[in-house]
Symmetry: C2
Subunit: 635 residues, 2 copies
């Protein structure tokens, strides 16, 4: 057993020599923002109240939203202050000096081609951070405590084996790097390494092959550096798709989804990543682990120890995944509810009745208003229809505009299946005063579902910040947690004499709970705003844990949640995980500082360990200006 | 976090003092067979061709089935030879002397009540084996290499903590014991302990409380010693059920289901056990692990390391499980297909179209004939109807009686849901010449689904043996594996000049594979038949692995599959699991010899380790008469 190759109905393609690639994936995207180079939202050149989407379409609601919702402004719209970041040259000049382990480089050079090893500044800079607000803020300002000293681009599982062997032998730190879209600090070098070892980012994006497909069993083996669209394009040639659709879909990789325990918008039907992966190859310093390929785990199941492990237990190189037939019908539509509570009642009632459409997303009133603000100009008849609906809902049905909540419902499958699911959902939605606003709302969501990072970048470039966090909770805690988190965040703003905006949507209808996804934003006045941001994150996390939410539903742990991980797992479980870490990675070369806090030194007291953990945790230090007062993140 | 108590909508009941129990669960069931004392199938006193079911009803097909199918007999039915086993007194006299660790007993006596500690022979005998053929054969013959030296009956999680602490301190072996229905050797003492340590069975069946229920989130916390009917009765008071229905349901425990990675007949709708358990408390020698209670795992997921761990990583004491509303409609019906291939095509086509009724079980032609042979007498009109259907199918539709295959379909849910599922299934079944034989076939299956162990006991008492094994395979391997396993088993019989019967059913419609469940039987002439049995098991396992099936779909690993576990997991994964074992249980006190082979000694060569593993593996030694030639089970 322990072979992850299903019958090669399609034979494995010959190894591709990617060395001739003109550009690597990381060279095609922004170093300091989201998405492809030059894909930027901008203020319209003629009208300072209008934003131009990356597709060029005018968005008229965004600047009013910033002005009114975030800053509490009134009256005419001000001209937004532009806050440009460093130029590439300026940023490169601020990169810390490299730490180079010559013996490691020499060994790697023997096994790999020259184009696979990058020591230049631009490669280092583009692998420094993930893509959360704090990451981009630091890139814009040049706050770099530590950077990867090299980037290596493996082209096969065997390349990864060579890399890990060399790193283990020469005590070099390695950080597996997928699409780099992580927002919890998973791919960032840890500056708290007393040995100041060389740090190497392993960019997986040359490993994109589909190695085999078994159409009968509907499983396929992929190298995990494949990004979303490429993965689906390869499956599409055989009439299949994967069904994983996170916001990062276009730029993130299969390996990243697995390593961060991702979940996509259609998880109701196609599953979270742990239901989509059958088997994996993982290269560890102590050997290659290959989890059995089987239709159901047998004995104990190691998949759970590597899914979500964020590179700290090894490099995931290949995975056997289930694949899905491309559904003939996709029907997405919108509903409006008079309140979040009403919408949630419909959401919960559907779950309780076993009604799980492909997608059900419930936006609270704040998120709904943001969603409306993101609309670009539509044909006049659509705008007129929207107005008519709003008039009807407010005048006839008594909805209050500022309290309305949007639900996006998605159905995929055969026509009969879609009809059946809709027939089940509609009466429940009507029971709680849901009003169907049709497929154009669904289409609008589909069009704009990957846009939030561009808006975040726009905010950063215009004296604002925006970020997201999420959790999953049992149903009994959903409404209390939603309320408590928003209140906790608003209280922090109040305490600091600031204001901001926070919205939330509920999604992922599990049988016993769901995900709450929060988006929040505020003005960015100076460097110290990051202090307040970390206090907000802290207060939100405390509120989440109080309501027994988990530390992350699908963003991963990174270094952002490490201060709470002992409380989350309990001390015996954490100690066991640290032992497991030592079993697979005795020299702690794999992505240190992420997911788990530092392990105890021999003979170290609990008090000394706790103090040391506080001292070296990245959460309350990275990016703060010198002399900042760190928030009280508990260990 | 790390607390598994959902909001106590129903408060936890006060700790129950079970010391006043007149009888413990193990005292109410047979020591040498399946089920309640006195529940026995017998040959009818008047008619030696008729078997009386435990419910007293006459079964006319079983003795002809033994005669014809198993032994290839012809002509008049012979009088079955009775092969009684030892009496209780004879068996007790054969128990090996106890190994008692006085310091351990003294420490346990301080923390527990006297009634919780049993050192008597009957307690030891009833915790000696599980319930497979080999287990019962040895009980009948008195082949006891080693027996538990004591049985301890904890009444709470805290009792288990005390027990594990004492065992760890005094180096006493402990074997967690649920219902004792395991069929792969999971609860049996391992005689290959060089230190000859005391061995204690921990009987969990006094730990039966529901500690809390959260009706909104639909989760409940249970002590895991609760048995199937009791669990559902406790949930039923709140309008819920669990939905786990293995063949052992009446006598097995929640903890056993978790520890052996169980799956029930309705898993399509309610899930395998790993989808039913959210969080667990596990007592290990190095601390209490509590996996987080959350609607989705976060970071890495330790549940997979304890589900299926068969007591080698700790005692599972409490679990938070999802609960299901009791479905208003349960519709079970039968179909007949002209061949297994036709039935399998319907089974697969449904899966491919996303049609997953609550239950879909496809019996091959051999299993179908056995199923018909198990029928008890029915009212005349039903018998007439059955005959008419058979006549129609053979004369009009061209089915061959001996090739016909039965499918049991089950639908549970609302009336609308059941109707919809049936509307989807029916045309697919018809497309492949399936003929609906109505709900009486479904009812018949429901009535008889727990009967197989009684028939097996009947066979044992009448010069025959019968046993089962199973696997799960990817769809591309289902038909080839089914064919190969049956052929491999029949070849072994042929090679040894014997004959037997083997049947199979397919169940559990996973998205990429299903379970194949084999039942096989032969005559039992003398003690050496066990040699052939082990060769059959070996040949079947080799055929399964060749077709990339797993070592067990839901029977667990026990000691039966240890010879193949390194091949199944691969050496690096096995080594990692052995390290994990050492992390949680450094003295190897937890159920040694099960699931994993022995770990390497310091400095031991791979060759020496392999030789030692062969020497101490239980699979090819337990129960064989001295001087037997063991099968070539590979390590």
């Amino acid at each position: 057993m322990a072979t992850s190759s299903p019958p090669a109905v399609s034979p494995a393609p010959a190894a591709v020599d990617n060395s001739a690639l003109k550009e690597d994936a990381y060279q095609r995207i922004k170093w300091n923002g989201w998405g492809a180079k030059h894909a930027v939202m901008k203020v319209d050149e003629q009208d300072h109240t209008v934003v131009r989407h990356v597709n060029g379409k005018p968005i008229r609601g965004l600047i009013p939203f910033l002005h009114k919702e975030i800053n509490g402004g009134d009256g005419p719209l001000p001209r937004l202050e532009a806050t440009p970041g460093l130029s590439l040259e300026e940023a490169l000049a601020k990169l810390p000096a490299s730490v180079v382990n010559d013996a490691f480089i020499a060994q790697v050079q023997k096994g790999l081609q020259p184009s696979q090893i990058r020591l230049d500044g631009e490669s280092r800079l583009t692998h420094l951070f993930g893509k959360n607000y704090r990451d981009l803020w630091r890139l814009r300002k040049g706050f770099f405590e530590r950077a990867p000293d090299a980037v290596v681009l493996p082209q096969s599982h065997d390349d990864c084996v060579k890399l890990v062997e060399a790193a283990h032998k020469h005590n070099v730190v390695i950080i597996p790097f997928g699409g780099g879209t992580n927002v919890t600090g998973c791919v960032e070098p840890n500056p708290f390494d007393p040995a100041r070892r060389m740090i190497v980012s392993i960019d997986m994006r040359r490993m994109t092959r589909m190695l085999s497909i078994d159409k009968e069993s509907r499983v396929a083996t992929f190298e995990v550096g494949v990004m979303g669209p490429d993965l689906d394009e390869k499956l599409g040639r055989h009439g299949f798709m994967f069904g994983h659709d996170p916001d990062s879909y276009i730029y993130s990789t299969l390996g990243g989804w697995i390593a961060a325990r991702g979940s996509g918008a259609m998880s109701n039907k196609y599953g979270d990543i742990e239901q989509m992966v059958l088997s994996m190859k993982i290269v560890t310093p102590t050997g290659v682990i290959e989890t059995p390929l089987t239709s159901r785990p047998c004995g104990v199941d190691l998949n759970g120890m590597f899914i979500g492990s964020e590179g700290i237990f090894g490099i995931i190189t290949e995975a056997v995944v289930k694949v899905e037939p491309i559904p003939p019908v996709k029907h997405y539509e919108g509903y409006l509810f008079p309140s979040f509570e009403a919408g949630y009642s419909a959401f919960y009632k559907c779950t309780a009745k076993g009604i799980h459409p492909t997608c059900m997303r419930l936006y609270d009133e704040d998120d709904t208003r943001m969603s409306f603000a993101m609309k670009w100009d539509e044909p006049a008849y659509k705008t007129a229809l929207s107005k008519a609906i709003k008039t009807y809902l407010t005048n006839v049905k008594g909805f209050k505009i500022e309290k309305m909540c949007l639900v996006i419902l998605g159905f995929e499958g055969s026509r009969a299946e879609v009809n059946h699911q809709r027939d089940l959902t509609t009466p429940v939605f009507r029971q709680f005063d849901g009003f169907c606003v049709g497929q154009s709302a669904g289409a609008g969501w589909q069009e704009k579902k990957y846009d939030l990072p561009y808006i975040r970048d726009f905010a950063l470039a215009h004296a604002h910040w925006a970020d997201v966090f999420e959790t999953s909770v049992l149903y009994a805690e959903a409404i209390p947690c939603w309320r408590a988190v928003k209140e906790a965040v608003r209280n922090v703003w109040k305490q600091h004499g600031k204001r901001g905006w926070i919205g939330c949507h509920a999604a992922h209808q599990y049988r016993f709970g769901c995900c709450l996804y929060f988006t929040f934003a505020s003005a960015q006045k100076d460097d110290r705003d990051l202090e307040v941001f970390l206090k907000l994150k802290t207060a939100a996390t405390e509120a989440i844990l109080k309501h027994r939410g988990n530390l992350s539903h699908h963003h991963g742990i990174g270094f952002e949640h490490v201060p709470w991980i002992e409380r989350y797992f309990g001390t015996p479980t954490l100690d066991l995980l640290l032992k497991f870490k030592k079993d697979v990675d005795p020299k702690n070369i794999l992505n240190p500082g992420k997911l788990l806090p530092v392990a105890a030194n021999a003979g170290e007291s609990k008090a000394a360990l706790t103090a040391r953990r506080k001292e070296v945790q990245m959460f309350d230090k990275m990016g703060l200006p010198k002399g900042s007062k760190a928030p009280q993140a508990k260990l």
